[in-house]
Symmetry: C2
Subunit: 450 residues, 2 copies
């Protein structure tokens, strides 16, 4: 149900609370329709969910999508989007949209930006020009884009793990993450505690500036973001800072920046309950099924991640038992679908109105061929399957909030089971089958493109 502009632009209703954990079933209403929570938002970085037309994004069950402010700022520019009628009309998506603030890109593109107490100066990846982002600018751009939910401009510090890796103490991490550590290091090296202190202070002050700059509060709902790394005391302090500002929703940031699954679980379990129970809680940039499940049980309502499309483009297909690498030779003559019982258009074309011979699925063998032949249809079909995979998983999670049968959920989705810590530490696949991978072993990098 759409809401009139005279209401507040966001209404969150909790329909059911789990008796055994902090999970809740809810619904968020916006001026562009509603979405059920816990919700998984596909990412449309540049105003397009890569390779998938918007009606198909809706068709696989997504009710809200995310766009990246930083990327749309660079190209085509927010003024153009505004003149074209706003981002909904521009990308032809009539459901709810959330835009991030660009704060994450200040972290993920640290090799090409400078950070100070007033904001971030980016070097444009489009033409090399300098782009200045401040809290006021981040909100101004989001006001022009016109998404239903907009995010505060925050300061996301590197994870402690990244700092240790740079100093050669911790395990190796994505080398791109080290850029943020290097940018934020002084003459004496990287002082993680000091960096967290700065991040909290900036994030607090910047939120106040964001709220003051927000010119469309009757149409767009501003969410604040809690930072604090993996330091629970700092998370407590940041949550207090951020929830001290009255906003329609709150997010947990800085936990999809190189942390382990265990750290994500620990931080989320600690932080989520500190956010108001009557407002939606959003865990930014997460993630794998097991991370989503832990967060739902801690009381988180909204998620976004590029995994379905990014891994889909790389021929990695999600299944309830883990990802499979479709490029693997063992699938060359496999006539079966990606996953038996999946109701996506690729695995069940007939029930989705796709005419195929005998209503048969696109086979793993054909999908492998498409990737081997570098045919665009491969990334398209596997992205579509993966998007549906996450929507199916979240729909089952929502049912489980009501039923309380969390063991049943894990039986249907073994991939969401807690990781055996020893296996993760050793970096071993969880299966002897080279083509079947656990969530930790494929594509476990933070999203640096979004």
């Amino acid at each position: 149900m759409s809401r009139s502009a005279t209401d507040r632009p966001l209404r969150f209703t909790v329909a059911h609370r789990s008796a055994v954990c902090n999970a809740r079933l809810g619904c968020v209403e916006t001026l562009h329709g509603s979405f059920d929570t816990p919700a998984f938002m596909p990412v449309g970085t540049r105003g397009s969910i890569k390779g998938i037309a918007p009606h198909m994004v809706a068709g696989i069950g997504a009710q809200i999508v995310l766009n990246n402010t930083y990327h749309l700022l660079l190209r085509p520019g927010p003024e153009l989007v505004a003149r074209m009628g706003g981002v909904h009309r521009f990308m032809n998506w009539d459901g709810p949209i959330l835009t991030d603030s660009g704060g994450y890109q200040a972290f993920s593109m640290a090799e090409s930006n400078t950070l100070d107490d007033d904001g971030v100066t980016f070097k444009s990846i489009v033409d090399g020009s300098k782009i200045r982002m401040t809290p006021e600018r981040a909100i101004g751009v989001q006001n022009l884009l016109g998404a239903d939910i907009i995010m505060a401009f925050d300061d996301c510090p590197p994870s402690q793990r990244a700092g240790l890796a740079v100093e050669g103490i911790g395990p190796a991490i994505d080398p791109r993450l080290t850029s943020a550590v290097k940018r934020d290091s002084g003459k004496k090296g990287y002082d993680h505690a000091a960096r967290l202190e700065i991040a909290l202070e900036r994030t607090r002050k910047w939120l106040e500036r964001c709220q003051a700059a927000h010119e469309r509060p009757h149409e767009q709902s501003l969410f604040g973001i809690v930072q604090g790394g993996t330091d629970l005391a700092m998370r407590t302090r940041s949550a207090s800072d951020i929830t001290g500002v009255d906003l329609p929703g709150y997010a947990i940031g800085g936990v999809a920046v190189g942390e382990s699954t265990d750290d994500i679980a620990r931080v989320v379990a600690h932080t989520a309950p500190m956010l108001p129970a009557d407002k939606p809680r959003y865990l930014m940039g997460v993630g794998y099924e097991r991370d989503l499940l832990v967060a739902v049980r801690a009381g988180v309502d909204m998620f976004d991640c590029v995994l379905p499309t990014r891994n889909g483009r790389n021929a990695n297909a999600f299944t309830s038992g883990g990802q499979i690498r479709l490029r693997n030779k063992q699938f060359a003559e496999d006539a079966g679908p990606i996953e038996e019982g999946c109701d996506c258009p690729v695995c069940s074309p007939g029930t989705n109105g796709w005419r195929t011979p005998g209503g048969r699925a696109f086979s793993r063998g054909y999908l492998r061929h498409l990737f081997q032949a570098e045919e665009m249809l491969g990334p398209i079909l596997v992205s579509l399957h993966n998007l549906r995979h996450f929507q199916r998983f979240m729909a089952d999670v929502r049912r489980t909030v009501c039923s309380g049968d969390w063991d049943g959920l894990l039986a249907r989705w073994p991939v969401a089971a807690p990781v055996v810590a020893a296996a993760v530490a050793a970096g071993e696949p969880e299966s002897g089958d080279a083509a079947l991978l656990g969530g930790e072993t494929v594509g476990d990098l933070p999203d640096l493109s979004a």
Copy 2:
């Protein structure tokens, strides 16, 4: 209506003949369903119409698609396709399929093959290995793939224009075309008349070998191919050779290899009437709307071309008035559809079951953005529009065969009007609008990818 395997595998019915030209309206029935003629076949080189799921190819009105034997031979290999149930099942397309023979690739990839009286030796573009193609092998591969219509293995000579260009006499042409001239030149240079003589002789002998090698005549219909370049006497001789073999259909080859629109028209008008009136006539690799129209009026029934998808990937959109370059800056804030009145899913989402805000089209401005941002959705959407453009055009052509109102057709499709010869000779765009291009000025290269 599907046909039983006890019938001949192809039945061609002419429903109407034009009173003013040689055009005819017909229907070809195969074991995988029927298609209306004149028909335009989208090209699915490697078993996929680039970027478009098969049900969408059917959705925009295509009833038959083409696959390339050479490319499927290299990857994934015909034996694999056969074990997967044949090419229909492999690519999940339940309508008629035509496969070419690889003869065209012997021409278009001349820089990496050698030609003799027995066949062609290719250097694989996949792994550099040597691939020997003979008439027997070309048919054997097509028997394994299992298309409804299969093509004879022919010898396609370079065009006279290409020969003249290499000698510095004619206008410059696509440099890739010169490879075939160089391959086919002796110590005294390129002797076009002698080359045509060889091509005709090989094509005649190879057709007999193809027919003898064909192991599935009750399921697959073999078409012969007339060669002869732009020499009408040679076309007459080749037509006599080829139609001397009793086959379910005949094709005109070697006119989409660098010829001018005038030459295409002249050769087709001469050759088409020499092919049996009661069998389908197929003009291979053509082409632009005006070439299609001339050929239909000469009595041709079937066409294929990569233009819709190849030009779509390059942001060139077909309209009834000519192509538009969507990358052009003038479209940056254009809220209109690619073409007003077009019924494709991109221009008319609502009537195609695509949910968009207010049922609005994807705007030229948004499509331009997708290409500027290198988003896959741009090539997908413009390819889809272009595929529908050619199907809409052919549907109108079919109606016009009955109505006889050819002037009315040209009024609706100015792009199909005969080219003013002087403008083409001068190589000038036919419009002062830099973003609106005539058929001759964009992407006028032969397809070397297929």
